[in-house]
Symmetry: D2
Subunit: 346 residues, 4 copies
Amino acid sequence: MSGPIKTAVVGATGYAGFELARLLLRHPKLAAPLFFGRDTGETGADLGKVFPHISGNGAHRLLPLSLEEIEKHELDLLFFATPHELSREWIPQAIARGLRVVDLSGAWRLKSASHRAVYGFDEGNDSAAKLADTAVYGLPEIHHNRLHDARLVANPGCYATSVILALAPLVRAGLVASDHGVVCDCKSGVSGAGKQPTPRTHFVEVAENLSVYSAFGHRHTGEILEQVGLGEDQLTFTPHLLPIARGILSTIYVRLKEPVDAATIEQCLRNFYSGCSWVRVFSPPQLPQIQYCTRTNYCDLGFNLSPDGGRLVLVSCLDNLLKGAAGQAVQNMNVMYGWGEREGLN
Amino acid sequence: MSGPIKTAVVGATGYAGFELARLLLRHPKLAAPLFFGRDTGETGADLGKVFPHISGNGAHRLLPLSLEEIEKHELDLLFFATPHELSREWIPQAIARGLRVVDLSGAWRLKSASHRAVYGFDEGNDSAAKLADTAVYGLPEIHHNRLHDARLVANPGCYATSVILALAPLVRAGLVASDHGVVCDCKSGVSGAGKQPTPRTHFVEVAENLSVYSAFGHRHTGEILEQVGLGEDQLTFTPHLLPIARGILSTIYVRLKEPVDAATIEQCLRNFYSGCSWVRVFSPPQLPQIQYCTRTNYCDLGFNLSPDGGRLVLVSCLDNLLKGAAGQAVQNMNVMYGWGEREGLN
Amino acid sequence: MSGPIKTAVVGATGYAGFELARLLLRHPKLAAPLFFGRDTGETGADLGKVFPHISGNGAHRLLPLSLEEIEKHELDLLFFATPHELSREWIPQAIARGLRVVDLSGAWRLKSASHRAVYGFDEGNDSAAKLADTAVYGLPEIHHNRLHDARLVANPGCYATSVILALAPLVRAGLVASDHGVVCDCKSGVSGAGKQPTPRTHFVEVAENLSVYSAFGHRHTGEILEQVGLGEDQLTFTPHLLPIARGILSTIYVRLKEPVDAATIEQCLRNFYSGCSWVRVFSPPQLPQIQYCTRTNYCDLGFNLSPDGGRLVLVSCLDNLLKGAAGQAVQNMNVMYGWGEREGLN
Amino acid sequence: MSGPIKTAVVGATGYAGFELARLLLRHPKLAAPLFFGRDTGETGADLGKVFPHISGNGAHRLLPLSLEEIEKHELDLLFFATPHELSREWIPQAIARGLRVVDLSGAWRLKSASHRAVYGFDEGNDSAAKLADTAVYGLPEIHHNRLHDARLVANPGCYATSVILALAPLVRAGLVASDHGVVCDCKSGVSGAGKQPTPRTHFVEVAENLSVYSAFGHRHTGEILEQVGLGEDQLTFTPHLLPIARGILSTIYVRLKEPVDAATIEQCLRNFYSGCSWVRVFSPPQLPQIQYCTRTNYCDLGFNLSPDGGRLVLVSCLDNLLKGAAGQAVQNMNVMYGWGEREGLN
């Protein structure tokens, strides 16, 4: 490929989309990125009007979303930071025109039909179903090799990333007594709920509060089960809404098949992530905190072991807009094009 | 008066309306209060469904707002915690049926036509205009004597209460050099913006932020000018949105006609509020903080004087939902019916 | 008993002690309460200097802590809101002088020597050990009958209260498969960490953050095990520090011995707390949130059940300074003296 | 100059010092920076132990502060992020050894002896007094030309930066009626108060609160007066403590000598900052908010004008740890060495 890669973000006016816009604007391997609005109301306006944070850096006009525009600009790679319905509608057309795509929605993440059911897609749509089968789940620490040639990368959910990165090494090493059940108690900042104002995201309803939502019903559950390899009744995943703007902390409870010492767990994690730029393993008793990784692309992992060595508490932290969304999307792009995993993310 | 007073709240599902509901439910002089929803969508539901905070205290059904219902329940006093348009529409009808009314909106607070203009009322409406002239501005520390016989009490704005209570004693004592201008830099928690979700009240837009709004254009300006007795160009009032749920702190800057000592200022304030239950005067250098008065009906006043005695910084704090809204409404009721000012507010 | 009860708070200058002071000041069955400082530096000062929140309510001088003072005032009941070392030192002397005591520290809560070990008490101290055996664990929903004659009431820990009230009914009903392990993922506001400034409670370290602490080592673990009746390795309890001032939400994960329906769980909870004033049971799918119970003495319980009926997520919320400390202490006093459980707590 | 510049931070374990460490670590013109602890207790430890945020980036050992260490490493430029007493003690020695220094404390900012009095320096100390006279006030937008040859740069206070950048252009243009007084109502996040835990910075005392402090007595007052050119009684500066971690918003009230239109004000600001990389001027009615500039080195300026054109409200926002401290220090270094002003700050 000669010359810098040409990219665009569809949905740059949401929280994750804007974070992505900021990352792409300073990525050293890219031509100036383009930005598409979600609907016609936004197009024509400058992104700096919606997010004055970037005013002073020149103009960034929001283009209308249309196939003509996409073709006109001869783009190489398209990022979708859109609701899954919109991703489901537009991405097959973009792929058909030869573009590569990284989708930040849940539209293409799931392999099993029963898990997909929560999204209510039209499964009679053959071309979409076929496309779904070829999509690569964009967790570079796990699917690195499949990303090089991927045409469609399904960027993982923020909760799912935090849970999978903590659990996968231990489950694969055969340490987890999954019949006792794995508990994932996950807490997220409000930006994960999107920019649309709702009663749930009203400041007064969130500040000085904590609440559980979607118990036994969150859409990220399927991703976790598929990627970690657990059965429906082996994992309990409960999301909580934290009174902070960004960041996820997942506390994960595991019973071990047999008692181990802390060094075994730490070694298992360190081996698995050896060579990975964006996972940090903490040595016990120190545990990750949200503040250590917000505004970075790190997923931080730590753990404490019960005195008898049989019960394990894992703590996994990340920034839901970076490693949980836009940062991971850039990391995926870096792998897709053979660049260094840290490129544009420091 | 025989038997307990019968009251109702119109708009009990907003933040101020609900706070009022809670106060009335435990007020010792009242019959069980009734609650009207703002629109038909809410009626029939239980107030405890909207605010689980009060679940467990029995049922509190939201009644449909209609003249029939109002008449049927033989109410004595009606509180309106509604948008000003709705207050403007319904209150004349309630008054005409012999009820007394305390209105928490801005519909009846202003005396001068030029100040009223910001609300865009139909000033050709004679009966409303006549009613407006008879409304008593419900700041009991200032209009105590007029409340006993008032049929319509216009409960003051939250910002206005905090500023008027700080300034009125000093202006009336002739201490203020108003030609130099009075600056009111006011900061409010988010509940003052109402319960309707908007981009401005989204948690992510408020947390870790501070913003100015309505500079030179906030609707409470007219109330302050009228009650304190200052001219349009003598007062600059700038509201700010704080990342907290409730509470107002107003920092008020005054130049004095001639240098004074701190004792003069403190005495002026203490004399003015002698006998008032709900204003606390702090002695310098101690100043009020929002935390001291939230969840109470107090307005806390304090000040610091420049070393040369010529410049005065006043600090006024209150809870925007209590002394700035529902608490003051109850205080007004207490005075209207000749009860102790602290009744039901401790 | 003739005349109102005479009470005092030792340690009224901490967060829980001050909350208690406020409650006692307006309790209808009590004489004016007295307040002892923790050390001589505070004594003589007015409580309103430390907490301007209550200024304007008259003077409340902090008395020096001494046996002479305690005897002089002919007190009936003494509340200790002090570190456990101080409770351990002073309470036997108070009991010996015929006073009744409610202690808010962990000094007298534990029955088993192995659990007590975490506090490092001198177990060779016979009189203290004997006193410990007679102390009643002050959870009125469980030990109601033993409170009437109790001389020493050990007020439960805040986390422990939230967990025990959720678990006890289900464990006693034989529903819980405790061999699979019970997970208690608990989140608390910062006031639970006390008023002493530390690096952990610095605003900048807490805001926009969430952190785990004391995994597998929190002192409340023993209380929970003893009261619920679980073995050391059957319960995993992980506390988290929330960026809010007050409130606890505990998410509790339980495997059931056999699948049940939601009505069975709800009935079990409702039966257990029938007649209890300060526990509210929510019907699924609605769950408690911290905001519903802060500034009240309620413990709110709710739950969601997995689709297969085998896994249960319980949510328990309370205000750590009220039902988790001072409110519960007043509730205990109410039962000790045969008053209504809600007296002074509404 | 051959080879990259060698720098070090004294006091890298405070909030501003750590922010500076992060900036220097990725500055393209520098050799690997060194870090000195404030006291011997910290030395030897790794900076990543104190701030796990940077763990995973290699080791950064904290060196003991001594002249031997400073000389051994042949440093070019030393940053002091230390209390002013320590800056006052060490910096003359560093300068005497030929190093250039940027000091983030208030030790060298003030020119007038009366303003210096608030710091209580020993003014009989001749060499320190002489050094103070040669120090350049490090506000690059104003003293750009004097920075090239400066040996000692006194980095401005955070509040002072926000106020001076807003006021200087208008005062210099002769627009301000300073006899009416200028009011600076300034609000800052808690990181400005330093990392040392104190009762004032305890989470519970800051959250859900707002408080005034140091009215008529804040140390930054002298800087503002000297740099803007106003007399003692012409400026009232009141700091407030916001419940956020970082960011300052200053609302500044000015009476104009004669009525002007908004274009005049905007042009005055734009002309003054033409060519400046780190000041953004907003067009009315849009105003800066803290969220737009946190985590950047921008100072954002905006304003609203009264309808009669006679009263001006200026709003100035910056990140107190960046443009208010560490970012500005790097910007100063960039100018001192003739590099682009944005170098290492994007």
